[in-house]
């Protein structure tokens, strides 16, 4: 159903193959959050992966001792903005899962502050996701998810859980916080999987 709106000509016509449908380029870094920004000290920070057989834990120093990747990627927010060529540093989920054995295929990411988001495990592996702690050469700001956030750039950015504290493996896909509150269970920007 698309029709022309009288009098609207629009502005940008520059076509960029990196821009998914319905998205607009921005140069700043807008914020989408449901509540206050939690204050998390790296001295207290911990990252866990819970599977059917137990819990794997890393504190901040152990995490920083892991192999660190430089990531150059585009990010796409469900609220219609995209940012191209963003620079991150973080630990690949491939690295974290090297020591983790699990038959469970779905993941619920949990954050400090209580928020959750769900992602299938195969969408986090093979160089598709990181736990990032640096943006543009600086430690990640608390309002953008610092000290560390999930980075899953091929999905809408609410899947890149801010203030991430751990992953809980699940037998079945279940909706997280944003997904229960109106956002799509999967969230592929190229298919415009924005809402229920």
């Amino acid at each position: 159903m698309s029709f022309i709106t009288r009098g609207f000509s629009g502005r940008g016509r520059e076509h960029d193959d990196r821009l998914p449908p319905g998205q607009t380029l921005v140069s700043d870094f807008p914020v989408l959050s449901a509540g206050p920004t939690p204050e998390v000290d790296t001295a207290d920070w911990e990252f866990t992966i819970r599977t059917e057989s137990g819990v794997h834990r890393w504190n901040w120093d152990e995490f920083m001792a892991l192999k660190i990747d430089e990531v150059d990627t585009d990010i796409h927010c469900v609220t219609h903005w995209s940012k191209l060529g963003t620079q991150w540093r973080g630990v690949s989920l491939d690295t974290l899962f090297e020591s983790v054995e699990t038959e469970q295929e779905y993941v619920m990411a949990h954050s400090y502050g209580g928020y959750t988001t769900n992602v299938p495990l195969d969408e986090l592996l093979d160089g598709k996701a990181w736990v990032a702690f640096e943006f543009d050469g600086e430690p990640l700001d608390p309002e953008h998810g610092g000290p560390a956030r999930l980075l899953v750039p091929h999905l809408y950015f609410w899947k890149s859980a801010k203030w991430v504290r751990g992953l809980v493996m699940m037998d079945q896909d279940e909706p997280g916080f944003w997904e229960q509150n109106g956002y799509h269970i999967h969230g592929d920007p190229w298919k415009e999987e924005r809402y229920w």
Binding site: M1, S2, F3, I4, T5, R6, G7, F8, S9, G10, R11, G12, R13, G22, T24, V26, D28, P30, V31, L32, S33, A34, G35, P36, T37, P38, T48, R50, C77, T79, H80, W81, H110, G113, G114, Y115, T116, E143, R165, G166, V168, F177, Q180, N181, G182, Y195, W196
Partner: protein, 264 residues
Amino acid sequence: MSDATTSQVMALGAAVESVPRSGWHAATVGAVHRETPNASRLELDVEGWPGNAAGQHLDVRLTAPDGYSATRSYSIASSGASTRVVLAVDKLPDGEVSPYLVDDVRAGDMLEVHGPLGAFFVWAPAAETGDDRPVQLIAGGSGVVPLFAMAQAHADADDPTPFRLLYSVRTPDDVYFSEELRGLSDASAPLRLDLVYTRRTPDGWPTPAGRITREALEAAVIPAADRPRVYVCGSTGFVERVADWLVGFGHDPRSVRTERYGGM
């Protein structure tokens, strides 16, 4: 996960309310008028609109003759079953969609909307939710739009929940819904309204113009001891500052819901 985290997740999950399903709809502009020197109020007649909860938003899509389209999200100033949906749009200096909606659109024009959207930053009467804790609304500039919808819904429902709105705005000319807000203050389920002017005050105003301070915020909101539900909407900077202070005053972070305008 610790027990504390689990209970937090459950508390957040329990807040999910049932809202109509979203979809694309054709909308006709029924009326448009100037809200402030920089903003317009649009009343849209939306075919097949399923109604919306107070605080929800929608996407507006505009399509140019060559097929180029642009989509933006806007908060809804109205709520309930009506297919007439009210928006109040602030013109962004470098905007693409908002200048059209504020300056160019006229009654009879057609555009597309997708919604209603969002199930978290919403308010419903205590009779529906069973939650009768007091409600504190805190608006920065055009962030008042979804909060006005909540205050109006509160009055329409004659809801007994205490309601208070703190509204930070540049000048007296920039106040959205000024007549309606005055009316709500006199309603049988009254709204207590506190205005803060950041650039210019009305004549004889007791405090000078300026950004709200931590002390002024604490004095103008329902105290943490009364366990209010708090809704904060505005620019990212405003929301970050206010929400951090609220947590500092002892408000439970789970009772503070925020909506931030990104800056595009």
